[in-house]
């Protein structure tokens, strides 16, 4: 008698769906992604040609303005600094939010002490703080990053607190029963368990950060993407203004793509569990 267990069945793992060839699937997914944008572009072009609205140029004009305005020196002098501040602000928000949120989520008295105040601060629309912070810190890059962090911090922070607080009680008992060390519990239980909520917070923080990046640049129309858009508006450079708006949309798409990539990798288990639960 050497082996202990009887043979068990094969794992009923969800199998990847098999279907048409890879190339056909890629073509289809490209079709889905770009179908609606192309349709909208066509409608826009037709509408502008027919009714000639005053402040809406044709797609071709916006395209020309886009190439002229953003591809060239402006890319380095305006776009890159804006995106850098966005990235720094977002990364700081995420790091501070997760670190603070974990501590607060684990310590009950701290949570009870801070939560009412958090409700107050998160209710303040971040744009109203821009002039105040601008006065305190001046028209600097730091000020713009601070504005982004003050707004984008909250979703990550509050979601982390909630995710850490609601760690499953059986999992916690398991970790205690097997005498896991404090750092093991944090790395192997608390943070992974909270990760789905943290990522939901990050997604919200991203859109807030993008909005605040623009708004922080609109006051005293200095430089950057937001500053340029305001400048174009005030000088009736309508096509240029629209090209800036298009660029913001593209930045949003880029952020969402990066987020989707990271999220799929980090939460593979979570999507797997959900898939099994929903049959």
């Amino acid at each position: 008698m050497s082996t202990v267990a009887p043979a068990a069945g094969a794992p009923n793992a969800p199998q990847p769906r098999k279907g048409r060839s890879g190339a056909a699937r890629v073509a289809q997914s490209i079709g889905y992604s770009f179908g609606l944008p192309i349709l909208l572009l066509v409608l826009w072009g037709v509408w502008v040609t027919l009714s000639e609205p005053k402040f809406i140029p044709s797609p071709a004009e916006v395209y020309d303005a886009f190439v002229k305005t953003w591809i060239g020196p402006a890319f380095m002098s305006d776009v890159v600094p804006s995106l850098t501040r966005l990235a720094i602000g977002l990364v700081l928000s995420i790091l501070i939010g997760i670190a603070l949120g974990t501590v607060i989520g684990l310590v009950k008295w701290l949570r009870e002490l801070l939560e009412p105040s958090f409700e107050f601060f998160r209710a303040i629309p971040p744009p109203v703080m821009v002039p105040v912070i601008a006065v305190i810190l001046g028209q600097t890059g730091t000020m713009k990053v601070v504005v982004i962090v003050l707004g984008a911090l909250w979703p990550v922070l509050l979601n982390t607190i909630e995710g850490v607080r609601s760690t499953d009680s059986v999992m916690k008992d398991t970790a205690r029963a097997f005498a896991l060390t404090r750092s093991q519990r944090l790395r192997a239980l608390v943070l992974p368990a909270a990760m789905p909520r943290i990522m939901a917070g990050v997604r919200q923080s991203m859109s807030i950060a993008l909005i605040l990046m623009v708004i922080s640049e609109m006051f005293n129309a200095s430089s950057g993407l937001g500053g340029n858009i305001v400048y174009f508006q005030r000088n009736y450079l309508v096509a240029e203004m629209w090209s800036g708006i298009v660029l913001l949309g593209l930045v949003g798409v880029l952020l969402a793509t990066i987020f989707g990539f990271v999220e799929r990798r980090m939460l593979r288990w979570y999507h797997g569990v959900k898939e099994v639960e929903h049959g």
Partner: protein, 266 residues
Amino acid sequence: MADTLLTVEHVRKTYESSTGSVEAIADISFTMEAGELVCIVGPSGCGKTTLLKCIAGLLRPTDGLVELHGKRVTAPPENMALVFQEYGRSLFPWLTVRGNVELPLKHKGLSREERRQLVDDAIEAVGLAHADTSYPWQLSGGMQQRVAIARAVAYQPEVLIMDEPFAAVDAQTRADLEDLVRALHKDRGMSILFVTHDIDESVYLGQRVIVLSNAPTWVQEDLAIDLEAERDQITTRALPRFTELRTHVYEQVQRAKRGQAVRPGS
């Protein structure tokens, strides 16, 4: 007499709530020797899980003491492993089968090679060698519980505590898992404290069956199961002695349910 592994002495547990205190466990005492397989059975709601949590150091008893090898248990001891009923909530879904089994070994100061051997051996012992890189949620319920058992086996505990581990799996899987527990006990000499509400299961598995009363709980009977060590789902369960024992335990549990049992010493 073999050396005493686990001593439970006059353990009492009351829960304080806003409406007053509720006595879950009145007075429980028993001992368990090294290498024993002891089943605890009792009516539902009799505080089995409370008792287990007190023994495992997850709950502090209101009175009395729990000792493992003569050392008082105040926090989860390093040489004890648990298998919970809710396998889905006890395994970490972000870790593979292997990762789950290996996790508690990481703070034991073993070399990578020693760890790998323990994990391989435990996964092999529960019959999951083919699934070690799967995630728990890719497996059936019975297989997930095997993972939880492998984790406990690899941990090399002096006592393995199982809290109604097979209550949530289907009957056929349960029979297989029962034999797995018997095999771990017989082949590896593991000391196992097995809590169940299933009377047949307690008689089939145990060398001793401890019958608990209704809440507030005490030990109603501590019964030796004089079946042979070599047990089999078909022949053992067909033995007249098995039927006698299970009828006896069944009657005890029924008495406990009706609250007719007499508390010893009262």
